[in-house]
Symmetry: C2
Subunit: 162 residues, 2 copies
């Protein structure tokens, strides 16, 4: 079980977008430069975020990306679902209906106990992700970072979003 690399990139990118001044935007190119990422591939992730409504985009010269809603309305679960898709991690293929002791389909109204067990754990995981917002992440980051570094970041962002 592993999360796509894109999840990491998308989350970091969202924290940068959250620091944008109002009515400003950052291009995929600029975001990629900020973390030294391959810009074309990062763009792919940003498109997924856009389809999920997490970011908005505008084309043309001076265009780019901005957050689609306030940072306190964006959870880690939103980002994971946008990048990885909504399918559950554990996929039950109903092998209990196979083999010499196969269960009849009529006896399978209840979900498979094993699938249910994994589903329960997965729900707990999703809840834990949903409880953490982009906003709270940024607050932690700001609390830990040095003032000099924050100024550095703000300056770069302002320059690139001009």
């Amino acid at each position: 079980m592993k999360l796509s690399r894109g999840v990491e990139w998308a989350t970091h990118s969202c924290t940068v977008l959250a620091a944008l001044p109002e009515e400003r935007e950052l291009s995929a190119e600029a975001l990629a430069e900020f973390y030294e990422l391959p810009s074309a591939y990062l763009a792919k992730q940003l498109q997924a975020l856009r389809r999920a409504g997490i970011v908005q985009s505008s084309r043309g010269k001076g265009g780019g990306y901005r957050l689609g809603r306030p940072a306190n309305m964006i959870s880690l679960l939103d980002i994971v679902r946008a990048i990885e898709g909504p399918e559950p991690a554990f996929r039950c293929s109903e092998i209990r209906q196979n083999g010499p002791c196969a269960l009849k389909k009529a006896d399978c109204k209840r979900p498979c106990e094993i699938a249910a067990a994994f589903g329960k754990a997965e729900q707990v995981f999703r809840n834990a992700l949903a409880a953490q917002t982009l906003d709270s992440l940024i607050s932690e980051f700001v609390g830990n970072a040095s003032p000099a570094h924050l100024m550095d970041m703000a300056g770069w962002i302002r320059e690139k979003s001009g």
Copy 2:
């Protein structure tokens, strides 16, 4: 994020092995037949379980697999770790140390806030998996299944483990 198909197979297989009479074993071939799975690939998963100590094996005619410890000492987390490996799902590549506003390595004693957030959710997930034992799964299954089906299974297992 998705769990390997092998996790499903391994868990089902463990529940069957738990139903074995003392001092009996089931071959990979028999287990595969029970669920109509490709035996060679299931064998691969069983090897992973063996390396983790969840099952034991013996070679030669009449050989096969049996549980390595009581079913109440085997959790879903044990099985997932055996099949998927111990690496965390979220891999932090420290991109905060890249780019024009890179953090110096000395400033990275604290883990990245984003990695920490995902790590926290993942820990919750692991706890939820660790709390569910093979034993409790089987109890649920037995509670839900029809007596006829249980007899059917027990008969087949006794026959194949002879």
